[in-house]
Amino acid sequence: MKRFLLFLPLLVAVVIGIVLFAGIGKDPTKLESALIGKPVPEFSLRDLHNPDAMLDQGLFRGQVNLLNVWGTWCPACRDEHDDLMWLAMEKGVPIIGLNYKDNREDALVWLDRLGDPYRKTIYDPKGTLGFDLGVYGAPETFVIDAGGVVRYRHVGVVNENVWEQTLLPVINEVREDG
């Protein structure tokens, strides 16, 4: 018993070490979405390209989509734009854009100049859908399954690395689920 007590500090140190070690490399600024496993919130917003057309959550039905939240005010969105173009053009990934807290003219100029990787772009100038989705910093990219259910959220830029190591495996898994 006395012998065991002598080893107690070592034991405590090892346990604390394991707990702290597990935290290394974790990015505390990346939060898991609260919407995972839940359907995309209901919305009714205008199409960025066509102000007369209304879009709603039915937009996500039928196939696995990426939902990319962006704005012209967001420097990191500029950063990932070329990679989104590559995903849409080379890989044929269907991406839906959510133009978040932006204005239409700037957004259209941006897409005109840099290319448009989006199948459709939802225009959300007040950020209502963004708020319902729990968006706290653009760019964010959601994986939405064919039934319109949120399956994954990536916070930060999308690039080749993120695509191959994070998004593609999630999409493959979602597709297998049917």
């Binding site: 600024t29 939060l31 898991e32 979405s33 609260a34 729990g134 706290y136």
Partner: protein
């Protein structure tokens, strides 16, 4: 010198005064305003790691304050307001997490630590009580060792 200290203090304190973000909201009475202030000081800004939405200037915090205010005006309870934000942004936004199986250790750790400390204290007290105040400080075996050591010392250094 004193003047410099005074200026430095004034600068520091002015920071404190400006820490609360001032929004223009109208409340029916002081109680409502107090309720609003309590709510926004218990909700955490998802963008800024460790700031409540009362202090934060982040746009997302402003949106969250707007929603808190609007829901209050619509007659929502505190629980409904917090739940609606947790439903969007996750448990992260709660500064006071719910008591559930996942947060059990978080809430129980202080009690466990105090209980453990009490056990240790009780153990020490009981042991010394059991030995009694008149108990010899050294056991027979220990006495024999001390005698041997003292004898050896005398032999090495004869006075």
């Amino acid at each position: 010198m004193i003047r410099i200290v005074f200026v430095a203090l004034a600068v520091l304190l002015s920071g404190l005064a400006a820490a609360e973000v001032a929004d223009v909201y109208n409340f029916e009475d002081r109680a409502q305003e107090q309720r609003y202030q309590n709510l926004i000081s218990e909700l955490r800004c998802p963008k800024c790691q460790n700031q409540n939405i009362a202090d934060s200037n982040a746009p997302i915090s402003k949106d969250m304050r707007d929603v808190v205010y609007r829901m209050m005006k619509d007659g929502a309870s505190n629980e409904e307001i917090v739940d609606s934000l947790v439903g969007r942004f996750g448990e992260f936004v709660r500064y006071k997490p719910e008591f559930e199986s996942r947060t059990f250790l978080l809430w129980a750790t202080p009690a466990i630590a105090v209980f453990g400390g009490l056990l240790v204290v009780a153990g020490v007290v009981i042991r010394s009580r059991r030995a009694g105040p008149d108990a010899p400080a050294l056991s027979e075996e220990e006495k024999a060792r001390v005698d041997k050591m003292l004898a050896a010392q005398k032999r090495d250094r004869p006075s």
